[in-house]
């Protein structure tokens, strides 16, 4: 066990945990933010995606000690009122069905939009193909990302 300092959504947390514990479980069970989901544990589905210094990463496969003091953003930190352009577009296009994978999808889409203001189909495919949606919301995800890029000021 070791004391790890985490910076999540601009807040500081100090937790006493196994340094090898994946960031996912630190976020969910020790910081108490449940929006980031467990899907596969082997970085195959993307449900656990968070931003590490603005880059999308799979928190299920990242030891918590490796991200100490770095800037981490979870779905809860994207906005406090669903006002991020990706969240707005997700609502406008009515993307979620069961909703379980959507935190990860949204984090990936937000990271894409932050570095590419008007992604084309190939850009969207490249950014989103690591994310599984069992409900099959992919057509709407594509539409929503395009809408967000158009809406973006």
């Amino acid at each position: 066990m070791a004391i790890i300092n985490l910076k999540i959504n601009s807040k500081d947390y100090s937790i006493d945990v196994d340094p090898q514990m994946p960031l996912l479980w630190a976020i969910r069970d020790f910081v108490g933010l449940k929006g980031t989901k467990y899907g596969c544990g082997i970085a195959q589905c993307g449900a656990c995606t968070v931003h590490l210094n603005g880059q999308p990463v799979r928190s299920c496969s990242l030891p918590v000690a490796a991200v100490a003091n770095k800037n981490i953003t979870t779905i809860e930190g994207l906005s406090d009122d669903n006002s991020h352009p990706i969240q707005k577009a997700w609502i406008e296009e009515q993307v979620p069905q069961c909703g379980y994978c959507q935190s990860g999808q949204i984090m990936a889409a937000a990271a894409l939009l932050s570095k590419n203001a008007s992604p084309n189909d190939a850009d969207i495919d490249a950014a989103m193909q690591g994310h599984i949606c069992r409900c099959g919301t992919y057509p709407r995800i594509k539409r929503a990302i395009k809408k967000a890029s158009e809406n973006k000021p």
Binding site: G39, C98, Y100, Q129
Partner: protein, 716 residues
């Protein structure tokens, strides 16, 4: 009697709702077939328990106790949309609360069979309209005017001549004392303001900011976590285990054998209880377990399908449909088609792995989780633990996918047994590997299809089915044919094909199986509609024209017209395939267009889907469900399957049980037929026609008939 205290005592207990209210609900009188409407006031006086009720409080807020789980199908939106329509309130005034499992109060609560809306909408419309009429009556009594001069709008009753206006909340006390009016007139479809509109789902914002609470997110005070090491061979017991290393891991508290029911059998595993999920995971990895699977046959997938094939050629089977004499016609025909279609075992693989919280408290058990069938869980746990069913409280959360897997009692049972052992509340989380390797699975099924075409029409049609029958796992009789043998096959076909024989060949393996989205239609549809296409090709007729010979009824004809229209069928080039199936009260036709890409590989260019689900609520939710069904069907047809080697499941996570990705999805257009027939299902019927429409399209393009799923598009 004071209605205030009745309401408070009765409903505080259930919901925490307070205050004076108009509460209307249904009850089923003894010896009656139809449920009756009653007020809470009357119900209390007569000692009647209310079914599925709505509650309007002094602020005019409407609460419905939802008896259906939200697992993505949109019932969280559709049910309030129905209530707000007939009650004349804003949609945001309607609050929906998940009802705890109780089939005494709510009747059959299973969220399955695409039944959430079709099973309840008539009652909900009537309940809401009746409440509105009572509120109007209450206002007219107060004003001492004729109720004909009053109308309801936006949660108010208005007296037209004077413009006087009262809020619903100001009328609930008065209204709650009135007799229930009979024969309330419901709106016509053309008068709907909310129903049939693509209104946004109320649960969407919760799912875009991470605040929706799924089972895995739920926490209760003092809760521990558990993971279970499970026998990779699907059955059997623990011979011995060594927990020395597991118990050294900080946070691991206890390790013991746990037993859970799987239909009529049991499975044993070794539970690791810890103070965090991660510690439980590490503890599970550190365990050494010796398994005893005496009596469990170590099957390979090839063995299973070879046995099916043998059964299809040798066994007479049990007749399910027998019309005319297809056997004699097939036997004497000079030219016949005699082919076998096979479909694979599949895993549900909900994105939210199975999980459940249980809190065993000796004479009471409380459960929280992503649960499709709360009352089944209540019944099962009550029987297994010998605790009165009303002392088994099953609370539903949002479900991160269900698809049939979460309509099962094994994971709540397991959580309960672990809580009992440790005497504390516990959340049991299945790893993705547990979820993938343990089943129960959609059964693999093989179909022998024999047919004869004469004068461009079907002169004999025979389908023999060999595959595991889900009901056998639940102790169903083995000497009667599977009553779902024609699920997926349109009823007009059954009515209009003169020499028709459907035979079910009993077939068993020790592999646990159960329903999977659209159940038997998901596999039957592939066999029936591919075979129909083979017969159409034999007749040299256009595949839709050929089907029209048997689908002459108005709804089928109109659906085929619509399919032709939206896809440009009559002016098509090569590479178009059609299929049409029916399940859970709805019919869906799909047309798939394929072509070859620059690398000479098959690509899917477009899918058109037309659904006839009769009366419906929200067109956008229906479109989303059909789109999603097509994506799920695409995976099951071309990407993944569960296989077995030496009695173990080969695939164990998304790296081996691969899923469709955003890059695999063709453009999909969905159309809804407009009519007022009884509502059909929406969550499942879009799935079955996709696979046969795709393979029929590939036949149209290449002349190659695909009879085994899954197949790789790139290898056709």
């Amino acid at each position: 009697m004071d209605i205030d205290t009745i309401s408070r005592r009765k409903f505080l207990k259930l919901s925490g709702l307070t205050g004076v209210a108009l509460t209307l609900g249904y009850y089923l009188p003894a010896n009656a077939k139809e449920p009756k409407l009653i007020t809470a006031f009357d119900a209390e006086n007569r000692g009647i328990e209310l079914n599925s009720w709505i509650y309007i409080d002094v602020l005019g807020k409407v609460t419905l106790y939802s008896h259906r789980a939200e697992m993505g199908q949109g019932v969280y939106q559709s049910i309030p949309q129905i209530i707000a329509e007939e009650l004349h309130v804003d949609l945001d005034k309607v609050n929906i609360v998940f009802a705890p499992g109780d089939n005494v109060k709510y009747g059959n609560q299973i969220t399955g069979g695409s039944s959430s809306i079709r099973g309840s909408y008539k009652n909900l419309l009537n309940l809401s309209a009746t409440a509105r009429v009572m509120l109007i009556k209450a206002a007219s009594n107060k004003w001492n005017v004729s109720e004909l001069e009053c109308y309801a709008e936006d949660g108010h009753v208005i007296h037209k001549p004077s413009g006087k206006k009262l809020h619903y909340g100001e009328l609930v006390l008065e209204a709650s004392k009135l007799d229930i009016p009979k024969n309330v007139v419901l709106k016509k479809t053309s008068e709907y303001k909310l129903i049939r509109k693509p209104l946004q789902r109320q649960d969407t914002p919760l799912k875009t900011n991470g605040t929706a609470v799924f089972g895995i997110d739920k926490m209760i005070p003092g809760m521990l976590y558990a993971m279970v090491e499970r026998n990779p061979r699907l059955r059997g017991k623990v011979k011995s285990f060594d927990a020395t290393e597991a118990l050294k891991i900080p946070g691991v508290k206890q390790v013991f054998i746990v037993r859970m029911g799987v239909f009529n059998t049991f499975r044993e595993g070794v539970a690791v209880v810890a103070d965090s999920v991660w510690a439980a995971m590490k503890g599970k990895k550190a365990l050494k377990v010796d398994w005893d699977d005496t009596g469990f046959e170590h099957l390979n997938t090839e063995d299973i399908y070879r046995r099916m094939e043998e059964a299809l050629q040798k066994d007479e089977g049990l007749s399910f449909v027998s019309k005319g004499d297809s056997n004699a016609i097939i036997k004497s025909a000079e030219k016949k088609i005699d082919v076998v279609y096979t479909t694979p075992y599949q895993s549900h693989s909900c994105m939210e792995p199975l999980n459940c919280i249980a809190h065993y408290q000796k004479d009471k058990i409380e459960i929280w989780g992503p649960i499709q069938a709360p009352e089944w869980v209540q019944d099962y746990i009550s029987k297994e633990l010998g605790i009165a069913r009303e002392k088994v409280i099953v609370n539903m959360t949002f479900l991160g996918g269900g698809f049939g897997r979460k309509a099962f009692m094994d994971y709540p049972h397991e959580a309960t047994m672990i809580s009992k052992e440790i005497n504390a509340p516990v959340q049991v989380i299945w790893s993705r590997e547990d979820d993938a390797t343990q089943g129960p699975y959609r059964p693999g099924i093989s179909y022998r299809c024999q047919g004869v075409v004469a004068n461009s029409e079907i002169s004999a049609f025979k389908v023999s089915i060999a595959g595991q029958n889900n009901s056998h796992w639940r102790g169903g009789a083995k000497d009667i044919p599977n009553r779902s043998a024609t699920e997926g096959f349109l009823k007009p076909y059954v009515d209009n094909i003169q020499n028709l024989s459907i035979v079910d060949i009993p077939f068993e393996t020790p592999i646990p199986t159960m329903w999977w989205r659209s159940v038997y239609a998901s596999t039957n549809g592939f066999a029936y509609e591919s075979f129909m296409d083979e017969l159409a090709a034999e007749s040299a007729k256009d595949p839709i024209t050929f089907r029209r010979t048997y689908l002459k009824d108005e709804r089928s004809s109109e659906l085929l017209d619509k399919l032709e229209e939206v896809s440009g069928w009559k002016n098509r080039t090569k590479g178009y395939g059609v299929a049409i199936t029916e399940c859970f009260g709805s019919t869906v036709g799909q047309i798939v267009k394929v072509s070859k890409n620059a690398e000479n590989k098959i690509q899917i260019d477009q899918v058109w889907a037309v659904i006839d689900c009769g009366w419906y609520v929200n067109p956008d939710i229906i479109k989303a469900q059909v789109e999603g069904s097509i994506v799920m069907a695409l995976g099951a047809a071309t990407i993944h399957e569960i296989t077995f080697k030496d009695g173990k499941t080969v695939q164990n996570n998304f790296n081996t049980y691969k899923m469709p990705r955003i890059t695999d999805i063709p453009p999909i257009e969905v159309y809804i037929m407009e009519n007022d027939a009884d509502a059909g299902g929406v969550g499942e019927p879009g799935l079955p026609p996709f696979a046969p429409a795709l393979t029929n399209a590939i036949f149209d393009l290449t002349g190659k008939r695909i009879r085994k799923l899954p197949f790789e598009l790139a290898k056709v």
